[in-house]
Amino acid sequence: MRFLARRLGFLLIALWAAMTVNFLIPRLMPGNPAEAMMGRLRGHINPASLKALEVAFGINTHQSLISSYFAYLNNCVHLNFGISLLDFPEPVSHVIAQALPWSLGLVGVSTILGFLIGTMLGAVAAWRRGGALDSVLPPVFIVISAFPYFFLGLLFIWFFGLTLGWFPILGGYTETATPSLTLGFIWNIIDHSILPAFTILITSIGGWILTMRNNMITVVAEDYVKMGRAKGLKPRRILWQYAGRNALLPNLTGFAMSLGFVISGAILVEYVFNYPGLGFLLLQAVENEDFPLMQALFLLITVAVLVAIFIADIATSLLDPRTRTTS
């Protein structure tokens, strides 16, 4: 319970820090970029929306910094992020809601698959120390994990998309197709997601392989693994039920910690493939100086990462009694 409270406390502090950073950044910038944006909008949007934007970015208000800070926090808590300029006059939350499922599907599925496959390969590599898998996988994936995500994306587009013509290279679905719940359209979506998904999978998998392999090497040297061998248990059973389960625990925390990196990479992958998810939207918001959308997307991505870390912490504490007793 104490552990849970500590982790929940940390979640809230990190969230608060992210919101505060979000509040301060536009106010610390030289020449107030938000004010310049507002100047261009005056006369084009209705006064009420303008007023809301002024509050959000601290312009023309006679409020003190403190009271506008609390007004901002209040807006955040109520998910009131204002009007998007990119897709005027849609509320920011609507614009985000349209992009969210794309990112959840693409990044979510490829990250979880990457974690599962990488963890299993890492466990097997460490189990057969010095074997074929163990000598080939680590160096290959050290090199691949040093590739920029977007470069691998470009390489795939060029090779599989343009040279071989196997896959479509841009967008979430064919633009002429009408979205519907038919098999044909679902296949269209999957077809478009294969290349970006593989880009994320291949660049992220190396990290999981290496950390799992390293954990596993430590665990395999433990006495209870020797004990299992001495008892004559089947090697497969020792591998997965004894060593693998314990080596997985630190990797689970690592999963949450690395999620930020994966999401950063996914932003660029979405950009390369014009995939209609949150990352692509974020870069479009930057390009079009849609500051309200930019702020909201940053917060949303942060919340997603923080919640994932929280869940991983809870899972670790359920699976590993040791973490519950140490403070």
Binding site: V143, P148, F150, F151, L162, L268, V286, F291
Partner: protein, 298 residues
């Protein structure tokens, strides 16, 4: 004096270690070549990288080893000239991140108590906030990031991972007998930290430097690729931006986009290979074993 002797001891050990470890040697050679290119780019560029005077979209030939761009620039010369910025970003950001993580990580572990609580909380918060979106937002307000702004933002967001690792290692060393002995002799904290505590942590500190440098290379290239860097910079990320904007892949000039990408990957691999080798130094259990030692159980 002792610190000096420890320092002089290092090159010999590094050299012996390189000879033993192929991954480390490969990484070191890659970085050495790139450092030479950084120091003397003009020795290796056959053409002026900025000049737009050659046949646009020319194919690979002896005078244009990687062809030309659709603006009529020599791709090979641009790739060579772009080395400098990525290497500089890697070194500078790596250096400052390492300094901050050593200071934060070691003071947290050494002082303990409320200082540790505060610094650890700060480290963890910076660690979990997704850095790349944050960088995009900061740079987004300014529309474009020049070299030093990029360095600042990358250091600001990149020090936390190292600080956390160093704190953990310093904590495990803090109550060793030799450290307690130094304290009992009445040595100053400064002496204990710089002479007794930091030298055993060297390999982890170097690994962190390399990790931060790799992060800086990838993140800065990503920023420039999406057009948030200085669009006139001679850098791999900026090359990729222009290649992507002119549909280099679709218009039959794939080398324009792929060459700078490969260059980033080579620099990244060099850093990652060395980093991995230093991890093996910090944790001897991870060192490669010969196949004969393996147990035939699975």
């Amino acid at each position: 004096m002792r610190a000096l002797r420890v320092l002089l001891h290092v090159p010999g050990r590094v050299f012996r270690f390189m000879r033993r470890d192929k991954k480390a040697a490969t990484g070191a050679i890659i970085l050495f070549v790139l450092l030479v290119l950084t120091a003397f780019p003009t020795w290796f560029t056959p053409h002026d990288p900025a000049a737009e005077i050659y046949t646009p979209g020319a194919a690979v030939s002896w005078s244009h080893l990687l062809g030309t761009t659709s603006f009529g620039q020599d791709v090979f010369s641009q790739v060579i000239a772009g080395t400098r910025q990525s290497v500089m970003i890697a070194l500078i950001v790596g250096f400052f991140c390492t300094v901050i993580s050593v200071i934060v990580g070691i003071s947290a572990a050494y002082m303990g108590g409320i200082v540790d609580d505060g610094l650890s909380l700060l480290t963890d918060v910076v660690l979990v906030i997704p850095t790349f979106p944050l960088i995009i937002v900061i740079v987004g307000y300014l529309k474009s990031a020049g070299f030093w702004l990029m360095v600042f933002v990358l250091v600001f967001t990149g020090w936390s991972y190292g600080a956390r690792q160093l704190r953990v290692q310093a904590l495990s060393l803090r109550n060793r007998d030799y450290l307690l002995a130094a304290k009992a002799r009445g040595e100053s904290s400064w002496y204990v930290i710089t002479v007794e505590l930091i030298p055993p942590m060297t390999s982890l500190i170097v690994a962190n430097f390399l990790g931060a440098a790799l992060y800086a290379v990838l993140a800065s290239a990503g920023l420039q690729f999406v057009g948030l860097g200085n669009l006139n910079a001679e850098s791999w990320g900026t090359m990729l931006y222009w290649a992507q904007n002119n549909e280099a892949l679709q218009t039959g000039l794939p080398l324009w986009a792929l060459a700078p990408g490969v260059a980033i990957a080579i620099l990244g691999s060099g850093l990652a290979l060395l980093n991995y080798a230093f991890d093996e130094v910090a944790n001897p259990a991870l060192r490669p074993v010969r196949a004969m030692k393996k147990r035939r159980v699975a």
